[in-house]
Symmetry: D2
Amino acid sequence: METLLKNLIEKNKHWTKKGRVATYIPMLGQANPDIFGIAVMDMKGNVYAQGDYQYKYTLQSITKVITLMLALMDRGPQKVFQYVGMEPTGDPFNSIIKLETIQPSKPLNPMINAGAIVTASLVKGDSPELRFNRILQLAQKMADNPSITYNHQIYLSESETGNLNRALAYFMKNHGVLQGDIEQHLEVYFKQSSIEVTSLDVARIGAIIANDGKSITTGEEIIPASIIRIAKTFMITCGMYNASGEFAIKAGIPSKSGVGGGILSAVPHQFGIGVIGPALDEKGNSYAGVKLLEELSETLNLSIF
Amino acid sequence: METLLKNLIEKNKHWTKKGRVATYIPMLGQANPDIFGIAVMDMKGNVYAQGDYQYKYTLQSITKVITLMLALMDRGPQKVFQYVGMEPTGDPFNSIIKLETIQPSKPLNPMINAGAIVTASLVKGDSPELRFNRILQLAQKMADNPSITYNHQIYLSESETGNLNRALAYFMKNHGVLQGDIEQHLEVYFKQSSIEVTSLDVARIGAIIANDGKSITTGEEIIPASIIRIAKTFMITCGMYNASGEFAIKAGIPSKSGVGGGILSAVPHQFGIGVIGPALDEKGNSYAGVKLLEELSETLNLSIF
Amino acid sequence: METLLKNLIEKNKHWTKKGRVATYIPMLGQANPDIFGIAVMDMKGNVYAQGDYQYKYTLQSITKVITLMLALMDRGPQKVFQYVGMEPTGDPFNSIIKLETIQPSKPLNPMINAGAIVTASLVKGDSPELRFNRILQLAQKMADNPSITYNHQIYLSESETGNLNRALAYFMKNHGVLQGDIEQHLEVYFKQSSIEVTSLDVARIGAIIANDGKSITTGEEIIPASIIRIAKTFMITCGMYNASGEFAIKAGIPSKSGVGGGILSAVPHQFGIGVIGPALDEKGNSYAGVKLLEELSETLNLSIF
Amino acid sequence: METLLKNLIEKNKHWTKKGRVATYIPMLGQANPDIFGIAVMDMKGNVYAQGDYQYKYTLQSITKVITLMLALMDRGPQKVFQYVGMEPTGDPFNSIIKLETIQPSKPLNPMINAGAIVTASLVKGDSPELRFNRILQLAQKMADNPSITYNHQIYLSESETGNLNRALAYFMKNHGVLQGDIEQHLEVYFKQSSIEVTSLDVARIGAIIANDGKSITTGEEIIPASIIRIAKTFMITCGMYNASGEFAIKAGIPSKSGVGGGILSAVPHQFGIGVIGPALDEKGNSYAGVKLLEELSETLNLSIF
């Protein structure tokens, strides 16, 4: 496995030159586009890693999976899906159009920004700090790494420039999909996006998903299997922005990407995978990361289909 | 004229039963749907009025014309039209779709909400209070009525429930069309919408527009004729929400309606007209008011076409 | 007037370099982008012309005005507006989106392609040939030029490549807005677009509109004044594609442009104008033609507003 | 299994009362809404069936899977996906909007009408008859039933009223996504939709998909496994119209529904399933069929996630 990963990193590293670092959040624009790394954890807890697997980056949209699972644990599927849909969308992740054109006006799914603002609002907690901390704690527990925290500078950068997310949130408040104080919901949302990890952390998070929600080491249930199943389904249908369909066909691995360049993948009962490559393709996914995962899937026959 | 107006009020009053009072701003929902009145001022200053012409209502979208003219006086057309377009839109006045689909992302015209938030942001003044006061003063001057003020309760109601306008504003801030503090711009916007008038006031405002910007009594230039011309053009192409085209064909009078049920009309070199009828049609225009103006136009041959 | 026109042609000729000849209809792509000419007819029948006023071009969308007037004469406004709306649209002239999003599904106005296909279908006649001939005859009569005909090669080129118009037509047939044989309606539509004229012809057509439908020479009513009024209104609100609002503000002259580079203008009770300049701006209007008309309007104060 | 199916049919039969038979194709409107049946085939060739499993219905959209597979065999994935995308869409199956708004203008996926018209155009054959026959033969071979044919009356009904599909096709021809004679492509498309089957046939077709493309009885490869994988992926992401995401979460079985009320399902390496229930929910899926499959999946733990 080490050799395979090393070869794949070397073979696909040139793709990093094709992509571009996200710049709409100013702090993200400072990332190094040459970074490229992967970590893989199997169901026995063995970890294989190559390239820049120790590079720290923010989860960005990857957190949407964690927040969804926490909201589902807190409120149950019936309540959650009253406010957010289950359908993929052909539109970009930050599009506002369907909120106006579809009746009732609720976000199509929890993997687009509007939907993730809703799930963040559904996490229990008496204050935004408490709500965010519960999301952070779940990330720490899944990654088995209590030192994980969020990057305050990136959080501030997101909050300052996050007016499109504010627009989505106020639009949803107008239609009753969001309740309460919008800036508090956005504080949770922006902080959760700024949780900082390495690909090792992400691989461990993926391993929990691959292991039906149970700890690899202790077997303890961290997340109920029924909720893991929902998460995996969304990762297939909506996990890679509006390239999800193509990735499902080419790789077939439940995955979620973030504009920080990270990708969280979970090969059921086999592997948790964390990939980093901040140079993005035009859909917002790590250019080299996608290529690597497609080749890894083909080599090891990892597609769930 | 008195007889004509009296007959038209009587003949068209039954239409008030067909419409519905606006309810999306809770305070507006308390309006009496049976109200129906008109005031007309000619170029000699004669005033004719019938029905509930003394009924007080808030300008709502009618203010958009006044704010546009003030922004044009403050910044000049070149600067204003850098941030707001000149094109009619087939979409509802509060739609957000075109802000996403059209490049560059600026509101299509200053008569829809997004565009009017922009023009309100372009009015000069060191604070939202000062900016709003300058709009109010222009309204007072045009109406020759220094006692006009805004309805604080309706302002609060609009501000509390105005999340769709917040969404529009933050969306535009994201694209650089709006700068500065959004809540301050919205304070100006919501206050200007809450300016309270009678149809007599509105008729006098219309008379200034009909008189190319000059006072009827003193001949003093209140607004430059070149700016009046721009205002009249928008009133024809976009003044009656997305029923503007139909009203241009049937009445052909530069007009602007508001969801409070008021209509401001200006028959060039002939009349300023104020109409009130809070029961609205499905496009958001006074049901009976539109019918009355169409018939008035036909009777007196007032169409500019 | 001759001097003025000469100066305006010279002064604005450089704009022809900025525009681009339409190429989506292959035959139109062969037009000479340097062509630039104008003809003006006053209400006494005097004609002033400069530049390439004898250049022959096809009416394209300009015919939409003529066909609308004939459909209105044939069926009456009530019937016509049952199948086509009166509202400007912020979308391009060939857009299909609003046919899907707006209920009921009818074209927003008769100046966009979908709407003009509907009005062409409403012209009376037992065959497509007869229907087209009636449109052609009205054009001939308005232009006082019985030799006007259509360009068969351009018609064939339009018909061969007009699949977007076919899509619009079948979409409308699906919703009951169009009845009968679609290819026959399109034959009328494509032929009427291919009617070939000079700017002299167009100026004469404009003069009839400016003269409330009556012949300049004989005073005979060619088109009822009430229908002329409807046509002028559409020319202001929707005549220049989705630059109609800007042109209304800058020139204020009821006009209709075509992608052949022609513009038909009617200054009420003053002038009929024909302009040609095949190099188009990005909205589809003659680049130099628009500039010339704006300057002519400003110089002679021709705006109706 | 027989008992389970019998119970599920009885338990879910009342849902047929909630749905409505499709009426936009007139002949489909004559279907009996009370019909409800299921057939299941396992990998050993055992067949279990209950309810109206012998009822004949037309495949409608279910054929899209078969045609996609044949196009992929004929042209290869690279060529096919040059003309049709791989992404789910949040829009209805017959929507035309995204063809205008997305660049390049190609259908988002082969499970919506526009996409299926494209794949039908990519099936090899010198005439529409030959192309359709090749699709029919593949259906016959998969269903191991050479007597399957198409319903000519329903074909005629579809062709007569299929103007929305004509609009989609001409729109795509305009953008070069479709080439050649549109009516010929539509002939293939409408005929393939009219292929008439029972749920037994559909279960056998599903069994081939569940068996990675190989015959259950002989083990012969009918379709390459790599193409089966693509088909299963689309069935998960786009198979149930714009309720695909919800069905993926609730049932998790690669499936494709049709407005005739049929559903084709393939549980990898376990079962092929055919369901019929012509009373549809508002998304266009068999109301009772969806409920039955969700419960069957939960009972037997059939989700692939």
